[in-house]
Symmetry: C2
């Protein structure tokens, strides 16, 4: 439907193997995760967060992250991303050969203390040590700072835009490669999204990378559109919308990768994703996670007839 | 979260008693519909589409529309709206004392022929006769032309913007009070919404009234935000997201009134709606329509803590 001659493509990164699985108690066998990864790659995903280098006793579901990185690196053209909570995790990420590591920093002080057991300024210092470790290892690994609770926090309440901007500036001052903003708890609204991303872009320029939205309150697609409308071109999602907070029963989790694929395809924006392959993978995941609720919207009604046979490519 | 000092309010019109119930086979007793209407009014709705003046043999569910108009007129400050398919329906609407009548016109020729059994130009002529009947009756009833399939059609496929603009111009030439655009089949995307509403505003100015979205593919809130971002300030919704097309199993229907209330409240835009009362009414409707699927997103997770205790007012 879009009339622009050549809209700029959008990069969708799937985080179902990390943000999705970390909130689900069961441990998915590594062999199944490999099939999951093959499914994502086959559906056209070229950026996948495959796990997290946290201590296995905290998240046994993600204990096989190094193995998954090794496998993911065999899939052509895939940016293999991992989450790291601290320097120790970053060292493991560097050893693993991951292409990108994401370090979360909370704009909410209360969330930072609860989640990372450190105030934000201490996490910033740790990020400096991570950068130094990456550089002295001569590694090409890209470091992304993920500013979490950028749109509000269940513990602290409102998060002022000044706190977000201060954290972004601190991270940029360290020479970190890129910055993303996350609506960790599903409090973002599209007006705030447009406002905060625009303000961060003024500070970060091209180092503002992406957006990470949850669909907790049905605004995932609206927030993605709002971010896109102010120039954001990279988005995290989870196939099947998994990743709901275990403390909010009935709440859905991350915005579904297939819903993002549909949103952008509906506007004529290329994502490189194969819609039917995503829906097929969603069905496989439903089997692998039997009993866990999946979410998302487009899987029910499917593509409009007007979008066939081009699918969401 | 919004920082504008006094954002302009948005008017949400609930159409659950018309667009919601017309797609559900069972007939809801008039006494229940009165309780439904009281619930809507109590939740702050000041515009409600209470029914449709179609032949009762076609839609027996809506055969009590005249009774409902009479009751709705007793609720203070309520704009009582009905849908009319033709001149005969309009005459019944004028007799009933409804404040507003909506006549649907399809921008898709194929949809017009299938749904109204007339091509669009014949519906335009009928609208002229309706305006003459209203004027000669000396009635203050407002006539709204609802341009359906404005964003695509299941029968015809793509609907060119030129067809929408031509129909809008024809309707304006008749001196019709206002025009609204409807995504009848859930094909709209936010970029198209912004583009088409902007183009129609250039033609219709302040006579462009509102937007009617379905949430068939999860873009209801994104489309409402896109329309709002280009200046639209009136939106249709259905409590509980009812109104799914009976020919698309699993597809949800109209965008949920409570989801619209949350969307705008999250941006600090006043709607006058009481969020808790809407959620309570949704639960009552679930009982009245036992066995019918309800939809919508916000009812699951509820308002963010940051929005308490102000609710969605």
């Amino acid at each position: 439907m879009h009339t622009d001659p050549q809209p700029q493509p959008v990069l969708i990164r799937d985080t179902s193997l990390r943000d999705g699985l970390q909130s689900i108690a069961r441990t998915v066998p590594t062999e199944v995760k490999r099939a999951w990864l093959r499914g994502l790659h086959g559906a056209g995903l070229r950026a996948v967060e495959v796990g997290s280098f946290v201590p296995p006793r905290l998240l046994p579901q993600l204990a096989d992250t190094a193995e998954l990185v090794a496998f993911a690196r065999t899939l052509p053209g895939l940016d293999v991303t991992v989450l790291v909570p601290n320097l120790k995790g970053a060292e493991r990420a560097l050893e693993s050969g991951a292409h990108t590591m994401v370090l979360p920093l909370s704009a909410s002080r209360a969330h930072s203390l609860a989640n990372l057991r450190k105030p934000p300024e201490e996490v910033v210092r740790e990020l400096g040590a991570i950068r130094a470790a990456r550089d002295s290892a001569g590694s090409p690994c890209v470091i992304e700072a993920g500013i979490s609770t950028a749109f509000g926090c269940t513990l602290q309440g409102p998060v002022p835009i000044e706190a977000v901007l201060a954290l972004v500036q601190a991270v940029l001052d360290l020479g970190i490669d890129r910055v993303a903003l996350a609506d960790t708890v599903g409090y973002a609204d599209p007006a705030a999204v447009a406002r905060v991303f625009e303000a961060v872009r003024r500070v970060a320029g091209d180092r503002l990378a992406g957006a990470h939205f949850h669909d907790t309150r049905g605004l995932g697609a609206a927030n993605a559109y709002a971010a896109w409308s102010v120039g954001v071109r990279a988005f995290d999602g989870c196939v099947g919308g998994i990743g709901g907070c275990p403390h909010a029963p009935g709440a859905s989790g991350n915005v579904a990768t297939e819903d993002l694929a549909y949103l952008f395809a509906s506007m004529g924006v290329p994502t490189g994703l194969d819609f039917d392959a995503l829906i097929a993978l969603r069905a496989e995941i439903a089997g692998w996670l039997e009993g866990e609720p999946l979410h998302g919207a487009i899987w029910r009604a499917g593509l409009p007839k007007t979008m066939r046979p081009h699918a969401a490519a």
